[in-house]
């Protein structure tokens, strides 16, 4: 696992911008394009994309963060057997990263102050902690290995904002943001404050990498788009608001007007994960010409026929480019979670779905939940109104899923995968897998005309039983 620092300057080629025709010809030892600010990249002899999502090590032979300045690279930090996953603070003063002091250590989260190169360990856990990102409001997120897989966690980043706790509901300590089995890794923070994360699809049980969103208090989890297809990972939000990501080995983007991913017409190559956008709108990409080649850092102006090598190394993959420049701070999410140990869910019309029409009339909804060990338990059923609405109280902070049943109890539709609702969250679903493009009709759901008390599917003893117990004990 140890990866000592190795001859960076000798292996790297830098020059003033030289036009290079075509990607393939711009490879090893070719003159490279220069960018106008410093850059941090992760260099690794072997980079296994998406290995993490399968519980494997993506840098099986170690990795090293490099700072690229004025055409020369140097180790970003000293004294680490491995370092990766750089994320720059919004003011470009500090860098969060995952590092191992010794090869046998788990990945931990550290912070480097660029000005004086001072270091501090931000997250110290017995298990691996990776992929840190700064959040607004003095918090941060990262992925931490748990018995249920890597989970996204949040905590204060150690930089109090005016001495104020900005997000009191989120709490001062570590707050888990994901609650399904499987591996989930933060990929970025969108300007609207939501955290973009990678996990398998269907969530909680599937293996196809997909991109999801969650608020900074763990509420509102959903797919970015519901046109699930090829492996999606490594999303980056551009200044335009579009999210560019790797789909398979190509690039694609989510754009606000469309409900589906759009391929990016970039030069043919294998791309790896996150990109960085320069001030001029060019993209820094990690790409390679074939599976047998190493990833290099390329610069590409969207629309151009070719891209140009910024940084390459003959024996290393170069991934995770990060520009050392201030960037806009995303919005902080003001958590509105209630101080409850359960959650409420209101479905407006279960018949609305991207999966097409139901084969019958839904009469009941069945809730299943997983316990800590991953055992699935049926929590009960609740009636579905004639307009397709239902209102239930559900267990929170654990994997749940719904199934629609007809009057005879036959399953009409089973939810794709698992999701969760945070404690104190009140959530409304437009339909069942309706997709983010589907807005609700403006009508009162019939269930709320019938009752304002949700059907209790939490598995708690009914209130009457609790009263009886209390009464009995008092005697």
């Amino acid at each position: 696992m140890t990866m000592p620092y190795r001859r960076p300057a000798a292996a790297l080629a830098f020059a003033l911008l030289v036009l290079v025709c075509g990607f393939a010809s711009s490879r090893a030892n070719a003159p490279a394009a220069q960018i106008d600010c410093d850059m941090i990249v992760t260099a690794a002899p072997v980079y296994v994309a998406l290995a993490e999502l399968h519980g494997q090590e993506r840098f099986p032979r170690g990795a090293q963060l490099l700072l690229v300045h004025a055409g020369k690279s140097e180790p970003l930090v000293a004294g680490f057997a491995a370092s990766a996953d750089a994320n720059l603070s919004f003011d470009a003063q500090t860098v969060l990263f995952a590092g191992k002091r010794n090869a046998g250590d788990p990945w931990q989260i550290w912070e480097l102050t660029l000005k004086d190169r001072s270091l501090r360990q931000v997250i110290a856990t017995p298990a691996d902690a990776e992929r840190p990102f700064y959040l607004p409001g003095g918090r941060m997120v990262w992925a931490e290995r748990t018995p249920a897989g890597f989970q996204v966690q949040s905590a204060p980043d150690g930089h109090p904002v005016d001495g104020t706790t900005w997000n009191p509901t989120a709490g001062p300590g570590v707050l888990p943001l994901t609650y399904t089995r499987g591996n989930a890794f933060p990929a970025g923070v969108l300007r609207d404050g939501r955290i973009l994360f990678e996990a398998g699809y269907p969530l909680g049980e599937g293996a196809t990498p997909e991109l999801y969103l969650v608020y900074a208090d763990g509420s509102g989890v959903e797919s970015v788009r519901c046109d699930h297809g090829r492996a999606r990972w490594g999303g980056t939000q551009l200044g335009s608001g579009d999210v560019v990501f790797t789909e398979g080995a190509s690039l694609a983007r989510f754009t606000s007007p469309l409900a589906h991913a759009v391929p990016v017409a970039a030069p043919h190559a294998n791309y790896a994960g996150a990109i960085a956008e320069t001030a001029s709108g060019a993209w820094l990409l990690s790409a390679r010409v074939s599976a047998s080649a190493h990833y290099a850092i390329e610069i590409w102006q969207p629309g151009a026929a070719a891209m140009h090598t910024v940084l390459s190394e003959s024996k290393d993959d170069l991934v995770e480019p990060v520009l050392v420049a201030p960037r806009p701070r995303p919005n902080r999410h003001p958590s509105g979670l209630h101080p409850w140990d359960y959650a409420n869910l209101l479905a407006l019309d279960v018949r609305i779905s991207r999966d097409g029409a139901l084969r019958g009339t839904p009469a009941h909804v069945r809730l299943e939940a997983q316990d800590v060990a991953g055992t699935t338990r049926t929590m009960g059923t609740a009636p579905i109104e004639s307009d397709g609405s239902f209102f239930v109280e559900v267990p929170s902070d654990r994997p749940i899923r719904f199934a629609l049943l007809d009057a005879k109890g036959a399953v009409l539709r089973q939810e794709h995968g698992w999701f969760w609702i945070r404690s104190g969250e009140q959530r409304i679903c437009v339909g069942c897998h309706a997709g983010p493009e589907r807005a609700p009709e403006n009508r009162v759901p019939a269930v709320l005309l019938r009752t304002i008390t949700p059907a209790d599917l939490t598995g708690k003893p009914p209130a009457s039983a609790l009263s009886a117990i209390a009464g009995g004990s008092s005697k």
Partner: protein, 644 residues
């Protein structure tokens, strides 16, 4: 000071005076090339900004007439050089502007004066000021030069005036809050829209659980009669309408609230859709199309205009501070190539606009009125809250230039507060601003259900903001002690659902809201003299014994809870209106300022009229002793309340 001037003149030789005179003439000549700015104004110690609201282009394309609401003037600009030709003063809070068919007259409604200014466009002077009751707003002139039509916001009608004398001939019932008028290209039809939804015509007991309904009132211009009412389902604010030159396609800007659903989150159009309804032969039955996208919204559309060649449709988006460019052919293709929803609305499809919106062009603060130059190459956008006109090149859909109307004075705290009120930038994905629900800083005439109360609980009527200073606590439950608290963390958490403004901006917003004056109450005599019914009603309002000579407990007298200059003692009471879905029976006494305008009534909007408060919802006299009153006496009480 005057003495010093006299002394100076005494010292000047004749030659110097001649030079100064020549210099003065040169200055006069130079004024015709002056920028479009205007001297700074101050009123009541506050900066007065131009606040351009509407623009019209003269028939020959040589002039722009810019209606400046706060500075109460029409600025006449050279349409080529964008220089100021003249500023013409009009009345209080002008809102509508229109040219006569030939362009020789310019009509401006003065909404708080209840007048119409008639401007001679050759003299560039007001030649007449005609009375038009009921808060005149939108205005159009017919083809024959016979009638002027004026939409009246609080009268809910369209006044028909003699175009020569201004004499009112009749009124046509329009939608509630009638405000904007559009002419068909042949000027044969007038289309009236309104900013508050119509009240349900039939009592069902579920009025406050019924989606709002609005309409486009269609008027035969020659006969001055209503010939159609086009229903707009689930629509509240309806603003400008425009037509293609061939008359085959019309589009109207509107708000589509989601007030029937608990306001739990904003993603996926949780609070509003912002839409256009299309009418005309090109689409067949009216069809609603959304302007929003999945991740960003077109908050508060206002102005609509087609290019003459029918290639493009532009919509100003007040809260999103942009203009949308729509490709008309692609729009029609979308409408015809997709299965038409049963409710004739694509409003639930956030991916629809990607089929026809081709550009989102950033402009200034709170863009409102828009107009196209006669050659079709320029789109003019009135940015109400930063005193500029954006000029957009319609060939590139890019900003070509910006016309400054202000004199460069800094943005005051009050102005900053107003900008904050009208922008949607602080809400999640820019979906809502204060003005989404408080249209033109008033209210929206509908009820909402806020998530913190619990799903289905505490249906609450939205209230008028004008004159609320000194009426705290706020909210129907009285849980917010001040405007900064109301608009601060609570609003951030449960409305914006996103990081909001800083403390200074919050203070400015509160300053603006607390300074909102009440519009003049037309039923209240300027000298405070009451009409006989109002006098009788006041006596009932203040009475201490009922008609059976029984004392009315102090706490059950109208004048006890509704005391003070604004008609509230600011305390909470149980007036017997609690519904099973309400968390509390205690409600804060609402103020009475302009209560006549703010239907529906009661905390949950269940009463469609003031009458229903007592005829239906006060069976046990808990909301004041009223069951001893006759119908006439109740009418008197209501007449008095309407004068408050």
């Amino acid at each position: 000071m005057n003495g010093a001037l006299v002394n100076t003149r005494k010292l000047l030789p004749h030659a110097a005076i001649a030079i100064l005179a020549a210099f003065g003439l040169w200055l006069v000549a130079l004024s015709s090339l002056a920028p479009a700015t205007h001297a700074a104004q101050v009123e009541n110690g506050l900066e007065v900004y131009a606040s351009p609201l509407e623009i019209v282009v003269s028939p020959d394309g040589a002039r722009l007439y810019v209606l400046c609401q706060e500075s109460r003037e029409v600025r006449v600009l050279d349409a080529a050089k964008y220089t100021l030709i003249k500023s013409i003063s009009v009345g209080h809070t002008p809102r509508g502007i229109a040219l006569s068919h030939g362009g020789d007259r310019l009509y401006v409604t003065n909404s708080w004066d209840d007048t119409l200014s008639v401007i001679d466009t050759r003299q560039l002077a007001v030649i007449a000021t005609w009375p038009v009751a009921g808060e005149p707003s939108g205005v159009v002139a017919d083809l024959a030069g016979k009638h002027i039509f004026v939409a009246d916001r609080i009268a809910n009608d369209v006044a028909v005036l003699d175009a020569q004398t201004g004499a009112e001939e009749k009124r046509l019932m329009a939608g509630r809050g009638a405000s904007y008028l559009a002419l068909s290209p042949d000027r044969s039809r007038i289309y009236a829209t309104h900013v508050y939804p119509n009240l349900p015509p039939v009592r069902t007991g579920f009025e406050n659980r019924t989606p709002p309904q609005s309409e486009i009132t269609v008027i035969d211009a020659a006969r001055a009669t209503v010939v159609d009412r086009i229903p707009l389902k689930s629509i509240t604010g309806v603003f400008h309408m425009a037509f293609t030159a061939d008359g085959r396609l019309g589009a109207v800007a509107e708000y589509h609230p989601k007030n029937m659903i608990p306001l739990a989150h904003l993603e996926h159009g949780g609070a509003f859709a912002y839409t256009l309804t299309l009418i005309g032969a090109d689409v067949g039955a009216p069809i609603e199309i959304p302007l929003d996208e999945l991740d960003r919204y077109a908050s508060q559309p206002f102005g609509v205009v087609f290019t003459l060649d029918k290639r493009s449709l532009y919509v100003s988006i007040g809260g999103s501070e942009c203009v949308l460019a729509i490709d008309v052919q692609r729009l029609l293709h979308f409408v015809h190539s997709h299965p038409r929803p049963a409710n004739n609305s694509f409003a639930t499809d956030l991916a629809a606009s990607g089929n026809y919106v081709v550009a989102r062009i950033p402009v200034g603060a709170n863009p409102r009125g828009i107009a196209i130059s006669r050659d079709g190459r320029s789109l003019f956008v009135a940015n109400r809250l930063d005193d500029t006109i954006s000029v957009i090149d319609t060939r590139t859909n890019r900003m070509a230039s910006t016309i400054a109307l202000g004199d460069g004075k800094p943005v005051s705290a009050m102005r900053h507060g107003e900008q904050t009120f009208y922008t949607a930038r602080y809400s999640f994905q820019g979906q809502i601003g204060c003005s989404s629900c408080h249209i033109d800083s008033t209210f929206d005439g509908i009820t909402w259900q806020l998530e913190p109360s619990g799903f289905g609980r505490d249906i609450v009527d939205n209230k008028l903001l004008e004159d609320i200073k000194g009426t705290e606590p706020y909210k129907w439950t009285g849980t917010n002690p001040s405007v900064p608290v109301e608009c601060g963390p609570r609003t951030e958490k449960y409305f914006w659902r996103s990081e909001q403004y800083d403390d200074r901006t919050l203070a400015d917003l509160a300053l603006y809201i607390l300074a909102l004056p009440p519009r003049p109450n037309r039923l209240h005599s300027p000298d405070d003299e009451l009409t006989p019914p109002q006098e009788r009603g006041e006596a009932i309002f203040k009475r201490a014994v009922d008609k059976f000579k029984k004392p009315i407990p102090e706490s059950n007298r109208c004048s006890y809870c509704h005391s003070g200059p604004k008609g509230t003692n600011q305390k909470l009471f149980d007036v017997g209106t609690r519904k099973p879905s309400d968390n509390s029976s205690l409600l804060k006494t609402p103020m009475l300022t302009n209560i006549a305008l703010t239907a529906p009534y009661l905390h949950d909007g269940s009463a469609r009229s003031l009458e229903e408060i007592w005829t239906i919802y006060n069976p046990n006299d808990k909301h004041g002793r009223t069951n001893d009153l006759t119908k006439d006496e109740l009418n008197d009480l209501i007449e008095y309340l309407r004068s408050r």
